[in-house]
């Protein structure tokens, strides 16, 4: 049996490990487009702030991959899938055939149409590559402008403050707001950020980000003109499924799966931030974000790929860590 997993995030890695536990002989191919060993994305801010080392980010070492007999195709992008012939086509045109396929490509920040023409001047905060590139510049960075609504934005701001950088946060809302649960109601995020020294601009949004010498000039809808060393901005977080365009697999925002994480195509599964799972209670699909969920989904998908029939239990909430402090949230973005 040949198991191919696209995406070497927590969901993909957990699935690979799970498959190996059950099927000691099957061939496992893990395809990840990033230039690193599989790592824990949710710890990136800890690494950014220097509380953990780069090595502590990695979830599998070269020795682990060898021991688990996992062929890791590092830095290789899946550019399409031929479901009829059960083949994954890679960026360099090599095809990898599969018997069982798991798509665990996660999600990534998306820059909306308003800011897209300034993409070159915007910094994302999502991958280890982003963090390493930011770290290279960090010494010469004093002021950062941040725009976005998601939890990773909150994480980023906390990280930047921790590194003693000036942070200007722009939000479309009347107050800084993040989708934290009632259980955290003792925490007023707006106040929390203000107290940490974050300057908050409300009811506004950036309309242009131009580079001038070593600085960036941010203009907002309300006419504010800000100067920054780095500008972090994205609009939302979307599943990485563009490579499935023109295929028959059912999808909405993410890939649609049933409770067993099976997609509409036989022998193809999806797990983690790229999967939209059928929620029997609300009778609709939703993305069950967050790393603990991705781990559980990876495990369920891994088991079912080997022939088991296990159901994944939807989580209503996710736990999000801002510099070690756990927050409960319902939505990621």
């Amino acid at each position: 049996m040949k198991y191919v997993i696209i995406g070497a995030g927590v969901a993909g890695v957990t699935a690979a490990e799970t498959v190996r536990k059950i099927d000691s002989d099957g061939e496992i191919v893990l395809i990840g487009k990033e230039q690193f060993l599989p790592y824990k994305r949710y710890l990136l801010t800890e690494f950014f702030c220097g509380t953990i080392s780069k090595e502590q980010l990695f979830s599998l070492s070269c020795e682990d991959l060898k021991r688990l007999k996992i062929t890791f195709r590092k830095g290789q992008l899946a550019k399409s899938v031929d479901f009829e012939n059960k083949k994954v086509k890679l960026f360099h045109n090599e095809t990898v055939s599969y018997d069982k396929l798991l798509i665990a490509t996660g999600g990534k920040p998306r820059i909306g149409p308003a800011l897209r023409s300034f993409e070159k001047n915007l910094q994302l905060y999502y991958s280890l590559e982003d963090i390493l590139l930011i770290k290279e510049k960090l010494d010469s960075v004093r002021t950062c402008v941040v725009f976005g609504q998601g939890l990773s934005t909150l994480d980023l701001m906390a990280g930047l403050k921790n590194l003693k950088k000036e942070v200007i946060y722009i939000t479309k809302k009347p107050r800084a707001f993040f989708p934290l649960l009632q259980s955290n109601s003792d925490v007023d995020v707006h106040q929390f950020l203000s107290e940490k020294g974050v300057k908050i601009i409300t009811n506004d949004r950036p309309v242009s980000v131009e580079k001038r010498d070593d600085k960036f000039i941010v203009e907002t809808f309300n006419g504010e003109k800000l100067t920054a060393d780095l500008v972090f901005a994205w609009d939302d977080y979307r599943p990485n499924i563009r490579f499935l365009e023109n295929t028959k697999i059912d999808r909405k925002i993410g890939i649609l799966v049933n409770e067993q994480l099976r997609t509409s195509v036989e022998d193809v599964y999806a797990a983690g931030d790229c999967a939209e799972i059928y929620h029997p209670k609300i009778k609709n699909y939703w993305i069950n974000f967050g790393y603990p969920n991705a781990i559980e989904q990876g495990e369920t998908a891994g088991k079912n790929m080997t022939g088991l029939n296990e159901n994944y239990r939807i989580r209503e909430t996710l736990v999000f860590h801002v510099l070690g402090k756990p927050f409960e949230a319902r939505w990621w973005e």
Binding site: Q35, K74, H92, N93, T95, V96, E129
Partner: protein, 585 residues
Amino acid sequence: MKHKELSIRFCGIAGDGVVSSGKILAGTVASIGLFVMVNDIYSAEIRGLGKSTTTVRFSGKKIHSMGDGVDLLVGMAGKESISELVEVKSGGAVIYESSEPGELVEGESLAGHIPPDVRGYAVPLKRLANEASGSNRGRNIVAIGALCYMYSLPPEIFINHITKLFQRKGESVVENNVKAFRLGYDYCQENYPLREEFDLPAAGEAKKLISGNEAVARGAMNCGLQIYAGYPITPATKIMEYCAKDLPPLGGWTIQVEDEIAAISTVVGSWFAGKRAMTATSGPGLALMSEMINLAVMAEIPAVIVDVQRGGPSTGLPTKVEQSDLNIALYGGAGDSPRVVMAPADSEESYSGIQLAFDLAEKYQTPVIFLSDLFLGQRIETAILKEKIDRNRSTRKKATAEDLKNYVRYQLTDDGVSPWIVPGESGAFYTVTGLEHNLQGNPNYEAEVHQSMTEKRHRKFESMIQDIPPADVIGDEDAAIGIASWGSTIGAILEGMEIAREKGVKSKLIKSIMIHPQHEESFRRFFDSCQRIIVAEMNFQGQYAALLKSRYGIKPVEMHLPAVNPVSPKAIAQKIMEVNDELTQ
């Protein structure tokens, strides 16, 4: 990560521009004063067929060998490059082609074999080359652009070098190549922004690049080579090519003869006529030359024979290196047949050494066998040549008016060297023969004559000591571990010693371009100062070790290094550590 040195290998097949990639990269970094060494490896005897690789290693510090492993593999040919992956260091990188049309079969692509501790960079080399010039030809330049970004090298130095290099071919060629370079650079910048750094020292004066073979040819021409006679053989042919191009304009001759016997005969004949002459060959050719070399010994006619060693015996391994012709060089003659044997360690020594070879041959009227090897001969390196140009140089012991009164060709002298006149010079006639002869040169088989003539022929080697350089001792003088070696293996030893030193183990090396005769006193002193001696060389029998054992009575640890590929400095370091462990136990 900041690299103090980088080793980059291009791998491809005919038409991929592998060799020119190496030249461009090496030329560029040498142009800003870095030290470089380039080694090409061909799998087939005939260049341009099958797979080939070129490896460029460069640093701000002098480079002595190709080191261990490569930091970057540029896989111009995907499938053929797979077997090169084992050479990529952990943490190293691979550039692979991502614009192959159609479908690549699983497992046949280079990418599919890259181990997880190595980074793979997919770069559409062909697509970008076509964008630049409308053909695949600039793929190698695209790759150079990509690696320039990857290691944060300044692009201007490449653009300057490419411009200079292609200027002759016209503006559009320059433009296309610069564009190809830019496209590779920009592609990496956009897709792989995270990059490593090369610790670039302040730009220094441009350095010259030269191969061992070229250094031999240049050295010979610059000290008065007049006749080159040879028969092509890998890996020595280049010497003839240089001489063919550059010797005639200097008033000399290059003759390609029908075989190696004709080549050595031409050389001996030329020297007989007083002309500085040389041939270059490899092991099989040297075997064929044995008898004529013997004639030169017996008739006391100089000859300079370069043997660019390859794997043997017989036709052996034409494209692989080995240092296994020492025995034939030293002993490959009938009778008591002494000859000078020299072995340079690098291009600088190849240049100065071949000039010394001519001087010794001419002064002492004896053949000199100059043992280079495939790795040394073919590799290109930055060298600081002690340029000596004197086409009229002569070390001949000429006959004085007194000598000419009653000239005898083989006059017995204290130093064993007889005054020598050549045909055409007035005042004397003499016989030359391969038979044992008397002072006049006439055949003579009497016991006393044979004894005194044999002694004379050997006495020259004792006198020669005054003209040969003393051996060099390199490393920590107080080290207990001493190493002796010869030829191109020296480079790997110097680096192996450095690795061991970084780990706290000291050692020292004795090296001499002279294999026979040697400054025995300096060797004895060196061996006496060591508790343990390692003799390392690239052959199975331990030919140099055997010589040193019989000459100095030492009992060394012998490293008979596997031939075929240049020696690994790490293997040397490991041996030094092992010997150190034994010593300190």
